[in-house]
Symmetry: none
Subunit: 185 residues, 4 copies
DNA sequence: AATGAATGAGCATTCATTCAT
DNA sequence: CATGAATGAATGCTCATTCAT
């Protein structure tokens, strides 16, 4: 219990500082100080700074996908896509720090995707659903990878917008995505 | 002339290395070596490493907007928006290094927006046009800031997609943006 | 009994690791792990790492002299010297790890000769015997300290040679020492 | 000139401290302080601490052999061997610090013999001479490696003895070596 | 302007030692 | 007696920056 608390505290401090100052401008000694532990203690829980970064990034990615995976079994249409979109946006809005770090981490050299199991899994499912949607003339005939990428980019942008403006709106934002990809004859 | 050439060489070397190895993993001495000048010479043109980074980021941002500003005088509609969008996307596709760095720089702790002059200027013009579009029922009644932000995010994502897939497609991608924001009754 | 077993286990583990990796590249926590005890346990038996090293060095030195002391009562001549020499060489050949460590320890900064009791004792006896030998024209008229030092150096070198070459020869090696110091008119 | 002075100063300081405190108990920052330069300066001249140690060890070994190599062409007998022996002993007595370090370095894990060219070269020559001596019944019929090793061990011991006692004697010491290996029927 | 040797604060990491359990 | 999590001083090394030439 207490042990896990200390590790948790270190991860939280790291997260906070990484967002504030950037990963490379945050020293391990500063993380320790922020977490209220000695410099050596950090190395009791993480072999290297890179390990700490990786574990933080991976654990947040997995956490962010937990609820998402439950939803992914249905078929694609306005409602199901909206549900997915909403779930992701809401997670980002409710976990702004983790969200910011996840974005930063994903495109960083520290993200050496190898132990990721869940993530490609969920991506594949989303792609399958999109391809179904295209076949069934619910979605435009675009590369499925373009649509899934667009989905992610749209979510990221919307999360940032909502955090900044603190707006309660959601539906109209989702529709800027869905109207862009829905099938029209 | 010769002086400016040296400064240019340093900026070019920095850009190349920043993309290759990341900003924080690129030492000033390595930049100097790559540029073929002495370590001290870099400090003749830039007070600090941060200044070099800022100047590089700002100059690329400005460069990317040069052509954009000329276009911005017209009125908003499918054609003019498509022109803007196309211009931005094409610049990104044709200057992938500068583009990558610009994205990286914008969300880095080094971008302490303060010396920006041109950028808010052009943003204001885009916002004005969007607001006109909303009033004239060409665009959906959304916050104009949301639309301009969506525009940028869509461009960024599309550039990345095009670079990765080397596709020649453009129009269908633009339409995923425009169909999302165009007025429908 | 059990207590002494634990201490013994620590000393044995330390010896093994010191030879394998060197004293300074062996951490106390590694010694503990090798000995199968907790890190803190080591400090129940030794105040500091230096104390552990000293005690190990001293105890091995004493052990190596145990048999030697029994022999030292006789008079100097080819046979008695050969007996001494042989005893020492054989102990080194049969205890190569302890021997290696002893040599290493003797010339290390950790050997701050102060607690030595037995050692000078035995050296004095050897010196007395040598001085008798000189008086009785059995040995060359050399400083007795030179002869006793030569004795030790010759033993050390020979032990190393025998370990490396695994030779069974002894007598001819002893004679390279004895012929060098025996009286000739 | 000045540059070489700085490097020389660092090597001298390192030598002094290595003997005083041992290699592993001497930090690079202490070496820098002793040499009167900044911590970073050391790394201008040596890539790593290990490189510094290696260069120091190798350069001293080579220096110690310079005069030795000239002598090695003659044939083996009392006089030539005495000349070799004397040369080596005198170098050790005149360079006590370098000598102590060389001994320490030779048997340390830092001596990864690979770039040594001169050293095995000279050893081979000495072995050849000894083998000639054995064939010509000048030396005892012992393994030539034993004799060459004995030579080195005898020199080392004698150097230590002379340094400690400050004696001027030489010839009688050499004879404790030569009488031990010379042919007798 | 240009050079590059020199600086020293700062970093990631280790490890002898302590102490609450 | 025994444990092992926790400590923090110390280490080897880097690098932005300076300055005498």
């Amino acid at each position: 219990m207490v042990v896990e608390d200390k590790k948790k505290k270190i991860l939280e401090s790291a997260l906070k500082l990484f967002i504030e100052k950037g990963i490379d401008n945050t020293s391990t000694s500063l993380i320790s100080k922020e977490a209220g532990v000695a410099t050596g203690t950090l190395y009791l829980y993480f072999e290297t700074k890179v390990d700490l970064i990786s574990e933080l990034g991976t654990s947040i990615q997995e956490e962010s996908l937990e609820s998402f995976l439950d939803l992914i079994e249905s078929s694609v249409g306005y409602e199901s896509l909206e549900k997915f979109w909403h779930e992701r946006v809401e997670w980002g809005v409710n976990n702004p720090d983790k969200y910011k770090f996840m974005i930063q981490f994903k495109s960083s050299p520290y993200n050496i995707k190898n132990t990721n199991v869940k993530i490609p899994d969920h991506e594949k499912k989303l792609l399958n659903l999109i391809e179904d949607g295209i076949k069934n003339k619910i979605l435009k005939d675009l590369p499925s990878k373009y649509i899934s990428g667009f989905f992610s980019a749209h979510v990221v942008f919307t999360v940032e917008y909502i955090i900044q403006t603190k707006t309660k709106e959601r539906k109209i934002f989702f529709e800027t995505f869905f109207d862009g990809i829905k099938y029209t004859n």
